[in-house]
């Protein structure tokens, strides 16, 4: 699969490396400058740039991507990247990282998000699922598991 991973050090890089080892064609849009050579050494195709600029996404091959992962440390950046990926580039599967659980409810189809990863919410869900409020808007991917959504279903995001 052709996968674009957007973000800096940490999660984005780890996800990109693991997918690359699994045999996927991975391109990283790095939001931190000067790390292209380190990423290239790991065998990853990396471009440095501002992913909010459509020409940067295009140069990374977003038009041909099967999956895009918006994995920056900024929720608002991840939302805008997801929207561009889905609406402008028609990426079939857009996955976004949520940094602040207060932003959870924003990450939905309206922003082009097919699935989300929200570490804080996932942890709370394991311990106190009843404390999570149901997602308010229709069309949202399931966030908190409720009796009709077995916990296993969350694994897809």
């Amino acid at each position: 699969m052709r996968i674009i991973v957007i973000g800096g050090t940490g999660l984005a890089e780890q996800v990109a490396s693991a997918l690359h080892r699994a045999g996927d064609e991975v391109t990283v849009i790095d939001t931190e400058p000067g790390r292209e050579s380190a990423l290239a050494q790991a065998g990853l195709r990396a471009v440095y740039g501002d992913p909010l600029v459509p020409s940067v996404l295009e140069a990374a091959g977003t038009l041909k991507a099967d999956v895009l992962v918006a994995c920056t440390r900024s929720d608002e950046d991840n939302l805008v990247i997801s929207l561009l990926a889905k609406k402008r580039f028609g990426v079939p599967r857009v996955i976004a990282r949520v940094n602040d659980p207060a932003s959870d409810e924003l990450f939905d189809q309206a922003w082009g998000v097919d699935a989300l990863v929200s570490p804080a919410t996932s942890l709370v869900e394991m311990i106190r699922p009843e404390s999570l409020r149901r997602r308010a808007w229709p069309g949202s991917p399931p966030l908190a598991s409720c009796p009709r959504h077995p916990a296993g279903r969350r694994r897809r995001s």
Partner: protein
């Protein structure tokens, strides 16, 4: 009019203060809880600490019955997220946002959110003041890309036709004042000494218009 503003920096504060003085009902949202202290004592509006991208914060600011929303944080993507939420989720009729990096303009354009772009507006105005002092605009459009300027016709151009000034996509003559009477001139109309013309002109073509006019006229 109830106006919700995100961002309590110089611009947000100045806009909030001004709208409040003009009788509008203003709520300012700002991440930094201490920023509210920058608002003047006479400010009667509300200050809501929090992140303006979060629906709960927008709701606390009364977004549901706001007539206008203005996103003025220093972060383009935060402005995009809150402006789109205000418009599409809360159906706020008038939504405006500040654009910092001109490279982000396509995103706003695609979403149909009207922006005030600080950088192009400032640059267009500075070029105007540096190079085209003699052509003071009566009106500017958009972020200063198009201007309406008036200029006296220099004596040596008397007898020329209006059409000679028209350059498609760059310069157009839209009005002629002669002896206190204003009209929309025919392209074939001949100019006379003492005429004053109004031009609609692209910012990039100001130099061309100035050279038409000899560059010495104010």
């Amino acid at each position: 009019m109830h106006v919700v503003i995100t961002g309590c920096g110089r611009t947000g504060r100045a806009l909030a203060t001004r709208l409040d003085a003009e009788g509008d009902e203003v709520t300012v949202i700002e991440l930094d809880e201490t920023a509210g202290r920058g608002l003047p004592a006479r400010f009667r509006g509300q200050f809501v600490p929090g992140n303006g991208i979060h629906p709960r914060v927008l709701e606390a600011a009364g977004i549901a019955h706001a007539e206008a929303f203005v996103a003025l944080t220093p972060n383009d993507s935060a402005n995009i997220v809150s402006a789109r939420t205000a418009r599409d989720v809360y159906r706020v009729p008038h939504v405006l946002a500040r654009l910092h990096d001109p490279a982000h303009a396509p995103v706003y354009t695609e979403l149909g959110i009207a922006t005030v772009a600080s950088v192009p507006t400032t640059v267009n105005r500075l070029i105007q003041l540096l190079h085209h002092r003699t052509l003071e605009p009566h009106q500017t459009f958009g972020n200063g890309e198009t201007l309406l300027v008036r200029s006296k016709v220099p004596a040596y151009l008397a007898g020329r036709r209006v059409a000679e000034f028209n350059v498609p996509g760059e310069i157009g003559v839209v009005e002629l004042s002669r002896a206190g009477h204003s009209s929309i001139p025919e392209p074939s109309a001949a100019l006379a000494d003492g005429d004053v013309l109004s031009f609609i002109v692209a910012a990039a073509s100001l130099g061309r218009l100035r050279s038409f006019l000899g560059g010495k006229w104010s």
